[in-house]
């Protein structure tokens, strides 16, 4: 039994560290915020954090299979532009619009998956190219920023539940329960981990690697489109911004690393990535709380990111002999 505990602790070390880091940073943030921690401060912080957390979840699914999705931000931008066009009007059209956005997101993920699996192209190159395609589609929908979104849906997602709890956290919890946990516990989710650990070994063991990879990419696109929908609810408009897409792609990778997910695949969890994303966002907010001059904020954020990933992924402290470095 004690050995079991040690194993479980080791398996979840990255997630626990990310959780601890987030709690520590958020405590500093909350105690130093000029207005104190009230429901509005928490909601604003949660909305920003949850947006990145959803993108980070999307990135995690692909990274677990030892791939990388550099189009995840562009899928979000595409979903944002689409949502600002079709998630309007009567409750029926709004519902259909939401379904349409999710469908397009899943489609984008499926395209990535099919090209990677059947085209046998490297994920990094594939998603760079498909990212350009998705961005083009977003630009076709929104040549200039604008559009609208159903106000009641937006308020429901970005407001507060029972007057205190940010609704966005409920959305995040819902995604974990509906998407991540079933995936993690299914045999196909196990297969995704196996593919990430060693694709050859997984293939030799008869693991359905194609289905596992395909599902990972599909769900990644789906989650990215949820993020796009949520972004629309925050901004009440759509914008085909390449800078936005790239930023979220890069931040999602940072969040994944901070969350203890191995970029080599096969280890880590979306829960860790969520806390990595929340921690990353809190770092940005801390700079604001401590009145760092806006001019210096990008530099400090960069340095903190650099320090965090150095600590998070330096394998030096864990190697048993020098040859292990070159695995």
């Amino acid at each position: 039994m004690s050995g079991d505990w040690a194993y479980r602790l080791r398996e979840h070390r990255g997630t626990l560290l990310a959780f601890g880091g987030f709690v520590a940073m958020f405590a500093i943030y909350a105690t130093n915020h000029p207005a104190g921690l009230n429901a509005n401060v928490a909601t604003t912080a949660a909305n920003k954090g949850v947006l990145l957390a959803i993108v980070a979840m999307a990135q995690t699914l692909v990274v677990l299979t030892s791939g990388i999705d550099l189009s995840v931000g562009m899928v979000m931008v595409l979903a944002n532009c689409l949502a600002s066009t079709i998630v309007v009007g009567s409750p029926l059209t709004t519902t259909l619009g939401v379904l349409g956005v999710l469908f397009v997101g899943a489609l984008c993920g499926a395209i990535n998956g099919l090209v990677v699996i059947y085209g046998r192209l490297q994920p990094i190159v594939t998603t760079i190219a498909t990212g350009a395609i998705f961005y083009g589609a977003a630009l076709a929908l929104r040549r200039v920023p604008g559009g609208d979104v159903d106000a009641s849906l937006a308020d429901a997602l970005t407001g507060q539940l029972a007057g205190a709890v940010p609704a966005s956290l409920a959305l995040l919890l819902g995604l974990v329960v509906v998407v991540w946990l079933p995936f993690r516990r299914s045999s196909i989710g196990r297969a995704a981990y196996a593919v990430g650990s060693s694709e050859v070994a997984a293939y030799m063991s008869g693991v359905p690697i194609r289905r596992a990879k395909f599902l990972a990419y599909l769900l990644s696109g789906l989650l990215a489109s949820v993020a796009g929908l949520f972004l629309t609810c925050i901004t009440y408009s759509g914008e085909a911004s390449a800078a936005n897409g790239n930023t979220y792609t890069l931040y999602s990778i940072a969040a994944v690393v901070l969350g203890g997910v191995s970029l080599f695949g096969g280890s880590g969890s979306a829960i860790g990535a969520i806390f990595g994303a929340l921690m990353f966002r809190t770092i940005g907010d801390l700079l604001f709380v401590f009145n760092v001059e806006p001019l210096w904020q990008p530099l400090f954020q960069g340095i903190v990111l650099f320090a965090a990933v150095c600590l998070g992924s330096a394998r030096l402290l864990r190697v048993r002999n020098r040859l292990d470095l070159y695995g």
Partner: protein
């Protein structure tokens, strides 16, 4: 794919003729890339008569030179099996520090280009130390360095309001012509290219780069100084990215913050379309040259066709995937 050259080599040696020699030296990927260049030119000539004129082609090669210099550094890093995502802001650092140095007076004007490149090498060294000695995945450490470079430049422009006009030397390199009418930028790319080919094929450094890309552990066990090589490769990549920024600042006669953004993905695409494996260890500089020209012509033809911006992005992505599906596919498990 990896076994194919060995077989043709045997055939060529057995028959003792030059044909087998030539055949084994031409990577099918490079042949495809040059074929695609020809195709783009032919399609382009339907839209505009001037597409095949020497002036237009020289102009395209001049524009391609900037991407070519940047892609050279990217290629060396990709040959290691790593990637350099810090290109956007290292390009901007190169351009902005060079123009800032121009504002320091006569000495600054002379030192502008070395200062720009030096800053790039410094950032590249940070990347290299992170990857080689701290063993951080290159994708992460270069992202972080990119963020730091961005932060530095925001502080630099906002806090010190430096000069952003480029020096005469930078403009000369980027926009001038030699006596024969060949653009200076193209000559610069040629020099960088020849140096890269020499470095990759005729030096221990180059051999070690390919060895590390194939299997780093084996290279280390063979006594290669893998960590120094990896670190130097990233320093070279940083320096060349910054040099690209210096040239771009000379071409536009000023440096701007987001000037490097449109160069990261084309640089990776050019290297990969030229047949260099993204997993490292395989690829030749000729392929990268083909990839750079192909990307530049593709961007050019899409604007000549007066396609709307969204269409350009979509076509760009589709063409890259289509070309890679033709010749850049990985192996099956069963092979």
């Amino acid at each position: 794919m990896a076994e194919a050259p060995a077989r043709t080599r045997d055939a060529g040696d057995a028959f003792g003729n030059g044909f087998g020699r030539v055949r084994r030296q031409i990577d099918p990927a490079i042949a495809w890339a040059f074929g695609c260049i020809a195709l783009v030119l032919i399609v382009g000539s339907f839209y505009s008569k001037s597409f095949l004129s020497p002036e237009y082609l020289l102009q395209q090669l001049k524009v391609a030179s900037f991407l070519g210099v940047i892609a050279t550094g990217m290629m060396i890093v990709i040959l290691l099996g790593q990637i350099d995502l810090s290109v956007p802001w290292v390009v901007a650092v190169g351009g902005m520090m060079a123009t800032a140095a121009t504002g320091w007076g006569t000495l600054g004007g002379i030192m502008a280009i070395p200062v720009g490149i030096g800053c790039g090498v410094a950032l590249g060294l940070v990347n290299g130390v992170g990857v080689a000695f701290l063993r951080i995945p290159s994708m992460v450490v270069t992202l972080a360095v990119n963020a730091i470079a961005q932060g530095l430049m925001v502080v630099h422009t906002g806090g010190f309001s430096p000069q952003d006009a480029s020096s005469p030397a930078m403009r000369f390199l980027a926009t001038g012509d030699t006596l024969l009418g060949i653009p200076n930028a193209l000559v610069v790319w040629g020099v960088v290219g020849v140096a890269a080919v020499f470095l990759l094929t005729r030096t221990t450094f180059g051999r070690t780069v390919y060895a590390i890309g194939n299997r780093e552990r084996a290279a280390y066990l063979s006594g290669a100084r893998t960590r120094m090589v990896v670190m130097s490769a990233f320093a070279i990549s940083g320096g060349l990215s910054a040099f690209g920024g210096v040239l771009l600042a000379g071409y536009a006669s000023k440096a701007a913050q987001a000037m490097g953004d449109p160069y990261l993905l084309p640089a990776i695409a050019a290297v990969v379309l030229g047949g260099t494996s993204i997993l490292g260890g395989r690829g030749s500089y000729l392929g990268t040259v083909a990839g750079v020209i192909l990307i530049t012509l593709l961007q050019s033809i899409l604007s000549v066709m007066q396609m709307e911006e969204f269409g350009r992005h979509v076509t760009y992505g589709v063409v890259i995937i289509a070309m890679l599906l033709i010749y850049g596919r990985g192996r099956k498990h069963s092979e």
